[in-house]
Symmetry: C2
Subunit: 132 residues, 2 copies
DNA sequence: TAAATATAGTTACCATGATAACTAGTTTAA
DNA sequence: TTAAACTAGTTATCATGGTAACTATATTTA
């Protein structure tokens, strides 16, 4: 495909493009496999990552919603919606902050933490399956 | 992050995982940049790829919708919707097949072809920017 | 300190991906 | 040669991403 459209490009540039297309294909395969794996556990990439960033945080048991949004580089409306569902599902709790009344503190429940430990081994093995 | 969760994994497996996370991050950056570039041209990844697969087809000026779906590995409902918009936008034509009345032949219009040539150089340079 | 600005989160709306269930043709097989 | 199975495309519905515009609270600054 590349050849047809890139007569004017250098060999180096063509290599870059091939590499890019290869990377995107591989990543898209990985993401698809991982989404499939997660969906069997009532998770998605984002739901999983939200649990992870809270859990991995040293010295704190909760994060503010905006901190999660920044760490995961996700828009705040999407985060609002996803947090709402995670709270409904009992994986997270949300509580108002006393100092800054705009903010919400998001914490893992026990169910959230155990969900994470159940899912992690399979997550890594999904990755190894494709990368190995 | 990996260290916290992977005590039981071999070094090789940890490397795979790091590589996978690196690939996914890079691909996600690339995809985001490309989507931004396309959106300034009233395209998306899928809209672009549909134009490409028709254009690159040797010896034929049209493809059946289901051929496009297969080549791009996209669900048929998504294709139906996207083709409809591309036809509305004047980039494609859709015509009924005489031999198989279920099928639709999808072809590039002149506008579609020129849209493609306008967009391709920038597409490749977006890729080179990130990969280079 | 009052007004302007910035930040946290939400709501409304849209784009783009999927699956399930449907209609309408086509092919296969009893 | 009709009934069953298959295939092409559509519709309905849902999940998940985004931006713009809003409310409420905090902070800066004139």
């Amino acid at each position: 495909m590349i050849d047809k459209y890139t007569g004017h490009l250098s060999t180096h540039e063509k290599d870059s493009i091939e590499e890019a297309l290869r990377v995107m294909r591989k990543a898209s395969l990985l993401v698809r496999n991982i989404e499939t794996y997660f969906s069997a556990h009532n998770l998605s990439q984002l739901r999983f990552l939200i649990l992870i960033v809270i859990d991995r945080e040293a010295n704190r048991s909760s994060l503010y919603a905006h901190e999660i949004a920044t760490r995961l580089d996700v828009s705040r409306p999407v985060l609002t919606r996803t947090l709402k569902k995670l709270v409904e599902d009992g994986l997270l709790t949300s509580s108002n902050d006393e100092e800054d009344k705009r903010s919400k503190k998001i914490a893992l429940t026990e169910k959230g933490a155990s969900c994470l430990s159940e899912v992690l081994p399979g997550y890594f093995s999904e990755i190894n399956k494709l990368m190995g």
